[in-house]
Structure formats: C-alpha cells, structure tokens
Symmetry: C2
Subunit: 242 residues, 2 copies
DNA sequence: TCAGGATATTTTGCATGCAATTTGTGTTGG
DNA sequence: CCAACACAAATTGCATGCAAAATATCCTGA
C-alpha cells in the first residue's frame, strides 16, 4: 500500500460494507482508532473520504454516523446508472468502435457464453461472471469517449448494490438465477450489435432496460432474502433497509 | 460559518475559481497556510475536500496541483448534465407535478420573462437571471423525485462552467446575448409545457438540446474571449484551456 | 420520585511537532 | 562542460496534545 490512509479507508470501507456497523450507528473516532490500531488522525481522514463515497454521514461537531440506504434509493441510483450507461452506448454507437474495442467486447461476450454453458458451477464461475460482466460494461463506457461520463458512473457505482458488480445469485433458485443471467447476456449481445450497427438510440434503450431489470432482480432477491432469512454475501447489503 | 474548515474550503475554492493559481500550479501546504493565515492542518483538510470537488489533484507524497480542464472536458460534462436533466424532466413528466411545484415553476417562468423585457440592464439583471434560471432547473430536478439523480447533477455542477449558473454574458454582443437568453426561455417554457402534458420523453429531448446549446454557447464565448483578449468574470473560466 | 441544573466525562476540532520522503543545490570525477 | 552523486533544504504524512463543544452523570430540592 502506498500510504496508511488508503489502507485505513480500505479497511473501514470493508468493515462498513460487511455490515459490522449497523446503519445509523454512531462512529466515534477514538473507538475506531482503538479497534483498528491506527491514529485518530487517520480515522478522521478516512471517514472524510468515506463521507464522499456516501457510506457515512457527518454532522458538524457531532461526528459520523453509518449511512443506511432504502431500497428505493438503491433502485433510483441504479436507474440513474442505467440512464448514463445508455448514454454511453449511444455515444459509442455514434462515434463507432475502434477495432480493438470491437474485438475485446466480442471476446468478452464469447467468454461469458462459456461461463453460462458451464452453468455457473460454484463460486468460481460466479466470480468469473462478475468480472467479465464488469469488464463488458466498462468497455462500453470507455468506448463512449466521454471521460466525465465514465467518472460519474464510477462514482454512482460506489453506492452499495449499485455497481454492475453487485449481482445477487439466489442460491435457493439456481435455475431462475441462470435464466436471468441468460437474459442479461441476450441484452449484452443486443447492445453490442446495436453499437456495431451504429444504432446509438437503440443501444441506449436496451441498456436502460438492462439496468431496470437489474434493479427489479435486486428488489426480488431482497424480498426473498427477507422471507427466507438467508443472507447472501453481497457487500453493502447489510446497509440496505426496506 | 459553522467551522473554520468550511470557511477555509470556501476561501480556497474562490481563489482557485478566480484564477489566482493558474492551472497546473503546485500548491504547497505551507504556502497556502501562510497566505490565508490558517494552520497547515486546515489547508490539508480543505485541499482534500477540493480534491473531491475536482478542483485540485493530489499525487501521493508529492502534494496538490491545481487541476485544469480542457474545453472538451467541460463540454462533455455539460452533455452529461443535459442527459441527467433530461432524465429528470422525463421522470417529472411521468410522475406528474404536485400543484405547488407546478405553480412555482410557472412563477419562475413569469419572473424570467420580466427580466427579459427589461433587457438585462446591468449586472443586477444578469444576477437575477442566473438565480431564476438555477431555481427553475433545480425545481425541475426536484420534481423528478429521484434524490440520487439530484445529487449526481449537483456533483457534476461543481466542475467549472458546468453548472446551470455558469452563464456567459458576452458584453461585446449584447443583442446576441439577449437572443440566446430568449431562446433558452423558449426552451424552459416548452419543457414545462411538456412536463405538464405528461410528455416525459418530449421534455427530455428538449432538455438535452437545451444543454447542448449551452455547451455550444460556452465554446463560442470562449473562442470570442480568446480572440478579443476580453476575459469575462466567470468563476472557473481561468482553469479552462483550449 | 422526578425535574432541573451543575459538574464531570467524552468527543470533536484544530494546532503543533517529528519522521520520512521528496526536491533542490553544490561538488566531484570523468 | 556535463553527468552523477552527496548533502541540505523543503515538503508531505502522520501522531500527539490541547481547547471547545457536546454528552453523560450526579446532585439538589421540591
């Protein structure tokens, strides 16, 4: 690690996303300082960073509290991400893909197909899907050629459950999960086809709908989780309330 | 001011936007500490905040530099803002305006009309236009009912020249300036009509185009400024390079 | 018993000091 | 004359200490 501050931010962020500090809880600088064996200064600086990420809230002279998110906020944020990713593929379609990006995105589709026929055997397959999926989304965003757009999407994605990486795999319904991934893959293929055909508006529509499906799936998984008392290991899920 | 940190951030931000420290310049903590008569700790904390806002960049162990922006970055960011404001009015149209918002937005249109017939006499008129325009945009964004969307737009608007408040009044061409404001006002009216008619998609298209015009106007003003060596007093303009 | 207030403790906000890294300068050897 | 190294100054990163504000505790008097 380059410096201690980044390390502290990382540790604190993981503790928060893991749900170690329930939403709404007060975080005292001294307490965190003792728990993680770092100076109060570093805790203070790290909390300021996490405030920018939206994981904690500060009240002047009254310290920091763990922020919690309603399902509606998460859903709203995913919708914004969808709008921006839609814009990204529209721009990518309008400007056209450079050959290297074209090839890379095609390769990712092929690799994701391979994961799907294997049927997501075990956590390895799921982790691989998450990586490939994120790479595909990021590739499309980069192809937009708009750096501010990419930064804005990245900022949004720091919110729990909003990132394209935050996928819920409902282990109680593996068949349904696989079907949803196949539908997502169909969207990916359609988006890439549209971008290649320079149909930017069409690509944007598909992408927006793709995000809405993701939000719907998350809501459903959240409800199922609440019903069955089964808590999937999804970073940040503990900070979301109905 | 509630605390010294906020005051320091404010002072530093204004100094940066005023162009007191040219883009790319190195900012030393001690130097700023001496210049503004605050402790190095506060300078350090303030710079961390300004880094979040995007006005300065930090290199580990090497301090902060004033960030500068290309005209293309500014233009890209305005386009993103337009997309998001378009989304906002689409949502507003889909959910409908509550009566209070409907009345307030209508009032703002009337007040802006009044400013326009007075022909923007002097800086007071311009300041009033800026306030009313910002209130109108913010009202529409609030009417979307999506808090994350509002936050995201607010974050983007911190970038120099991207905010709806960052309007260039080309004093060398007052007639053209007035015409542009009249065109903007026509857009405002059309957007509000579309939202009221629950035509969300139409409202979104108008809003996106509204933003594109703003970006175009800024580019033109920037070019004119470069040609004539006349520098309008627009916060952050000094940080933009061709 | 309980409301109100004085006092003690905790906690945040800020300043200062020290070590580590970086940057600038001068010197030496080729 | 210039490259490379050694040393000095400057600068950042971090820790600790102190004052102000907030919070908790205890006491008093009805």
């Amino acid at each position: 690690m380059t410096n201690q501050l980044d390390a502290t931010v990382q540790v604190l962020r993981e503790a928060l996303l893991a749900g170690h500090y329930p939403g709404g809880d007060k975080l005292t600088e001294q307490g965190l300082s003792a728990t993680f064996s770092v100076s109060r200064t570093l805790v203070r600086l790290a909390l300021a960073d996490l405030e920018r990420e939206g994981l904690v809230e500060r009240t002047p002279n009254r310290g920091f509290r763990v922020r919690s998110f309603t399902l509606e906020e998460v859903s709203d944020a995913i919708e914004v991400r969808g709008e921006l990713e839609g814009m990204a593929v529209r721009l990518a379609g309008e400007r056209g893909l450079v050959s290297e990006a074209d090839r890379e995105l095609g390769d990712l589709i092929v690799q994701m197909d391979a994961v799907l026929v294997d049927g997501l055997t075990g956590p390895d397959g799921r982790a691989r899907w998450i990586d490939l999926n994120a790479a595909f989304h990021n590739g499309l965003i980069a192809a937009s050629g708009n750096a501010t757009l990419a930064e804005t999407i990245a900022g949004l994605s720091r919110m729990p459950l909003v990132s394209a990486r935050a996928l819920v795999f409902d282990q109680s319904d593996p068949h349904g999960s696989l079907d949803r991934l196949k539908a997502a893959q169909a969207d990916h293929r359609a988006v890439l086809d549209a971008v290649r055909a320079r149909q930017g508006a069409r690509a944007a529509h598909i992408m927006r709908e793709h995000a809405l499906k993701s939000a719907r799936n998350k809501r459903a998984s959240f409800d199922a989780m609440r019903r069955t008392d089964f808590i999937p290991s999804l970073p940040g899920l503990a900070l979301v309330r109905a």
